[in-house]
Amino acid sequence: MNLTRRKFFVVSSALISSMLIKSNAQAVEGRYATIIDISKCDGCTDESIPRCVLACREQNKSRFPEPKKPIQPYWPRKIYEDWSDKRQKIDTLTPYNWIFVQKLNVEGKDIFIPRRCMHCDNPPCVRGCPFGALTKRAYGNSVINEKICFGGAKCRDICPWQIPQRQAGVGIYLKLLPKFAGGGVMYKCDLCKDRIEKGQEPACVLACRDRLKENAVFVFDERKKIYELAYKKKKEEGLFIYGDRQNGGTSTLYISDISFDLIDRALNERNERFKMPVDVKNKIQTTFNPIGKVVITSGFLSIAGAIVAAVVSKNKKTDGDENAKD
C-alpha cells in the first residue's frame, strides 16, 4: 500500500474532524411531556378496568406479541418469560399491559398511581441497549424497535423503575441462536408514538379526560408548559413533584399531595415490584461522562505526545550497531 505522509495527515485530520462535528439535529429534552396528578386519580374503581389501561390495550393490541410455542428456556437456565397466558392481567406491567394503576395506602389514605415508562431525558435503556433497538425520539418518548430487539432484558435491568417487560418466543433471536442468545422482545409504553407523531395525544390521556373532564389525571402538552404548570402547582398548592430530577430529568412529572418519600416507603413496605425511589442518579451523567471526558482528553494528549516523540526520534541520529548485539 502506498501511503504517503501527506495522505496519512489528510486521512487522520478528516477522521478527527468528523468525530467533532456537533449537530443540533435533535434536542435531548423532548418536545412533549406529561403530568400525572396522583391527587386526582381515583383508579376508576367503579369500572372493571381503569380507563387509561383499557385505552392503552385497545390502542396497542395489534402490537402485542404472539409467541411461537413451545418456548425454549434460556439455556443453560431452565426458565423463560412467558406472559401470553396472562394477557388479562392488568395489575402490573407485562408485555400485554404497558400501563397499570398501582393502588397504595399511605398513612391511612388510598392513592392510585398510573405507572408506565417515565421517558427519561437521558434514558439508560436507550444508551445501554447493545443492539440499538431502543431510540430516544424528538418528541421525548423512548421507543423499542421490536424488529431488532433481542430480548436480553438489559434495558429492564438498567431502568431505575424496571419498566420494560419481556415476552419469550417472539423476535429476531429466534432466527439466529435461539437457544444460546436473546430471550424474546421487550415491550413498554412508547407514548403512543404513532399518535403523537400525528399531533394527537396518547390514548391514556384522552381516555382519562373523557372520564374526569377538567379534573383529568393526565395532562399532555409541550414540555415547557408542562414543567411550568407542575412548578406552579408545587408553589401555589404545595404539591410534590416526581420525575423532574429523578434520573437526570424525564418527560413524565407525577404530582402529589403526599410526599414521594412516603409513597416510596409504602411501596417498599409492601415489597411492590415497581417502586418510586426519590434519589435516582443517572449513571451516564454521574459516572460514565466524567470518564468519557478523560477518554477524549487523553486521546488528544496522546496525539500531542506522539507528534513530539516522533519529531524527537527523527532528529536523533541512530548508529547502525544499535540494531545488533552479541
Binding site: 500500500m1 495527515f9 487522520s12 519529531v311 547502525g320
Partner: protein, 221 residues
C-alpha cells in the same frame, strides 16, 4: 548468540497496553451484553460484580482510556515517522498462504521482510477493526456527553457496528493468540515482543530480506 533489535521500547509498550486494555474491553464489553448472569459467570467467586451493568460499563470506560491513547499514539507516531512496514504489500496474500503452509510443514517459507506477509495482512485487518471500534466507541462517548447529537437511526447503527465489530475483534484476537502459541516457529517472535531482541540466526532464516537490509546497513557503518 548474536541478537538483532526487532522492537523498540515504544513498540513493546504500544503492543502490551493495547493487548491488556483490549482484553479488559472485550471482557467488560461482553459484560455489557446480557450474558454473564445467564451463563453463571456472576456466580464464579470474585465475579459477582460482572452482573452489574453499571460496574462493567465503568470498567469498559476506564480501559478505553488506555486503548484510545495507544491507538492514536500508534497512528500519529509511526505515521509521522513514515513507518508503514506493517501495511500490506502486493503479493502478500499469495505469500501468506505459503507462510501458513510452511508452518504446517508444507513447502518452503518465502524470504520475508521484517514482518511476515501474513502479519501485514493481519495487521491491516485487526487495524481496521480497531479503528472501527475506536471511532464508534468515541461516538458513543461523545453522544452520551451530548457533545454530538445523533438521530435515533444513526445512534442505533453506530451501536450495532460497535457491538458487531467487538465480536470480530474478539475472533481476530483469539486467532492472533492461537497462531502465536500453536506454531513453534512463531515463539521467538513472542519472546521479542517482551525483550525487543531476536536471534540473528532466526532473522537470517525467516526474515532473509530484512537480514540482507540490516547487513548492508551494518557494513556501511
Amino acid at each position: 548468540m548474536p541478537k538483532i533489535k526487532r522492537h523498540t521500547i515504544i513498540e513493546i509498550l504500544e503492543h502490551w497496553v493495547l493487548a491488556l486494555s483490549g482484553i479488559i474491553l472485550l471482557f467488560s464489553g461482553l459484560g455489557c451484553l446480557p450474558l454473564f448472569k445467564r451463563y453463571y459467570i456472576t456466580e464464579i467467586p470474585g465475579f459477582a460484580w460482572t452482573g452489574d451493568f453499571n460496574t462493567v460499563t465503568t470498567v469498559h470506560y476506564i480501559a478505553s482510556i488506555f486503548f484510545v491513547m495507544v491507538v492514536f499514539f500508534h497512528m500519529f507516531y509511526h505515521g509521522i515517522k513514515g513507518e508503514f512496514g506493517l501495511l500490506p504489500k502486493k503479493g502478500d496474500i499469495k505469500n501468506s498462504i505459503k507462510v501458513l503452509a510452511a508452518m504446517i510443514g508444507l513447502g518452503k517459507e518465502p524470504p520475508s521482510d521484517k514482518y511476515l506477509p501474513e502479519q501485514r495482512i493481519a495487521y491491516a485487518g485487526i487495524g481496521f477493526i480497531i479503528i472501527l471500534l475506536t471511532i464508534t466507541g468515541i461516538i458513543k462517548v461523545l453522544k452520551n456527553l451530548e457533545w454530538v447529537v445523533l438521530s435515533p437511526g444513526s445512534e442505533a447503527v453506530n451501536t450495532v457496528i460497535h457491538t458487531l465489530s467487538g465480536f470480530v475483534f474478539m475472533i481476530a484476537f483469539i486467532i492472533h493468540v492461537a497462531v502465536v502459541i500453536c506454531f513453534k516457529s512463531n515463539w521467538p517472535l513472542l519472546k521479542s515482543m517482551f525483550t525487543g531482541w531476536i536471534d540473528e540466526e532466526y532473522v537470517k532464516h525467516r526474515h532473509a530480506r530484512w537480514y540482507e537490509e540490516l547487513k548492508g546497513k551494518i557494513s556501511e557503518n
